[in-house]
């Protein structure tokens, strides 16, 4: 029923596109983390003006579909900005993923920051620390631990969301599968195989996540 031989032959072909998928997800995740931390700190410290901007930013990127955002960046924006005409699919995808996921991540980082009890903030200030020392040395390290499970969830989501880049003409894992399937007509085999590849990658990550959480929890063992 299933053409297993075809699947076996297809495996190395598809795997050769996995690095691009992981690369897009990793780069977008790193940018999104930095942006999300900035947005969260702005929201928590209620920086005038920037706070309003953060709210609008988060509202827009959470309130519209990722696919719409990707099309906006790739097909829409070049109409407005000449320089973007040459934007390639990978760049547009990374940009879209970064902005979209940073909006979600900002909210979970903000919640983690707010959740750290106020007495530690007061203690840090009482020994003469500045606001930024307090953030860097006391609050953010602890917020990291609280936010890690959710952030890892977003990373997993992001890996899967890179498959949308194929709608921008990027031949990543999903795009490659689509091409192979339409020339062999073995759609079930091809898409089943790509599903398994995504699944295994996500499982490996979840294993890594559990290890990371044990490490981050070391300070909280009784």
């Amino acid at each position: 029923m299933l053409n297993l031989e075809y699947m076996w032959e297809l495996l190395p072909v598809l795997l050769s596109y996995l690095p691009l998928t992981l690369e897009m997800a990793t780069i977008a995740m790193l940018f999104a983390l930095v942006l999300a931390c900035l947005l969260a700190v702005i929201r928590v410290s209620r920086v005038p003006l920037l706070n309003g901007f953060s709210l609008l930013f988060i509202s827009f990127f959470r309130g519209t579909p990722l696919l719409v955002q990707l099309f906006l960046f790739y097909y829409g924006l070049p109409q407005l900005v000449e320089a973007l005409v040459s934007i390639n699919g990978v760049t547009a995808a990374v940009l879209g993923l970064t902005l979209h996921f940073s909006a979600y991540m900002a909210e979970s980082i903000r919640a983690a920051i707010v959740g750290i009890d106020r007495s530690q903030t007061e203690a840090a200030l009482s020994i003469g620390m500045t606001q930024s020392q307090l953030m860097r040395r006391i609050i953010l390290p602890q917020a990291t631990r609280v936010a890690t499970p959710t952030l890892m969830n977003y990373f997993i989501d992001m890996i899967k969301a890179t498959s949308l880049a194929f709608t921008l003409g990027v031949t990543e894992l999903m795009g490659a599968t689509q091409k192979e399937a339409s020339s062999s007509f073995l759609y079930l085999e091809a898409f089943l195989l790509v599903a398994i590849i995504y699944w295994v990658v996500v499982e490996l990550l979840s294993w890594g996540q559990r290890r990371l959480e044990v490490y981050l929890n070391r300070a909280y063992q009784r």
Partner: protein
């Protein structure tokens, strides 16, 4: 050497206290007592600018900070000279006992890490927790955590340590070890201002007891005088209420 002049604090339109004056000498130990909600803790927090007073001046050594005009730098300097011990310890949960004590020396005083750790180890020895240097707060008892809180205050090398009800959230079995550590500091002539409900401790340790009620300093005197012959009726009423159940001498 440490003085508060006309310190006023408001929350909204409500005066917590107005025009408070208080002076103390190096090595002096002051205990502030009084009913809950009379501004004792707020006064203590104003000395460290955890609460910013609306007006008044706070002087510690040669540093004088005006509530209205004090700059950010003034306030940071003042905070380094006035260490604080909190009711709920306020230990940094992501740092070990040693790091909790050395953090201020490294980050604020810019001391090299090795030197700060060596000093922190000395302090751990003095507070009797040398064997807990690598333990995180979550693994320590309330009493141990509060002793680390005091150790962190000692590390600041501050001119005065401010204690805000340091034993109030402790289980009874841990109160003794914290009070003993404070007595040890008292014996070393550490300048301290202590807000507490531990009257016996106040009697044993204080050079001067200050009674506060409704945002005012009603009366201040050496403990034997204030506890046995309080002058103001409000002090008498308060002491009668608080000492009667413990079977201590009721004035």
């Amino acid at each position: 050497m440490i003085s508060l002049e006309a310190v006023t604090k408001r929350f909204g339109k409500q005066n917590v206290f107005a025009d408070i004056d208080l002076q103390l000498e190096r090595g002096e130990i002051i205990v502030i007592i009084g009913p809950s909600g009379t501004g004792k803790s707020t006064l203590l927090r104003c000395i460290n600018f955890l609460e910013r007073p609306e007006s008044g001046r706070i002087t510690v050594g040669d540093l004088r900070v005006d509530a209205q005009h004090g700059t950010r730098e003034d306030i940071l300097k003042l905070r380094r000279r006035t260490a604080f011990v909190f009711q709920n310890y306020g230990l940094f949960a992501n740092k070990t006992a040693l790091q909790n004590i050395s953090e201020g020396m490294i980050v604020v005083d810019k001391m090299p890490k090795e030197k700060a750790h060596a000093r922190a180890r000395e302090i751990l020895k003095r507070i009797g927790l040398a064997d807990k240097s690598d333990a995180y707060p979550a693994a320590l008892s309330g009493g141990q955590q509060q002793r680390i809180g005091i150790g962190r205050a000692m590390a600041a090398n501050a001119e005065v340590i401010l204690f805000d009800e340091p034993t109030s959230s402790l289980d009874p079995q841990w109160v003794e070890e914290v009070l003993n550590l404070m007595k040890q500091l008292a014996a070393e002539q550490q300048t301290m201002i202590i807000v507490t409900h531990e009257m016996q401790f106040a009697r044993d340790v204080a050079d001067r007891v200050v009674f506060m009620d409704e945002g005012q300093i009603i009366e201040q005197a050496p403990p034997e005088e204030l506890f046995t012959a309080p002058k103001d009726p409000r002090t008498q009423r308060f002491l009668r209420k608080i000492l009667a159940p413990t079977g201590q001498t009721v004035p």
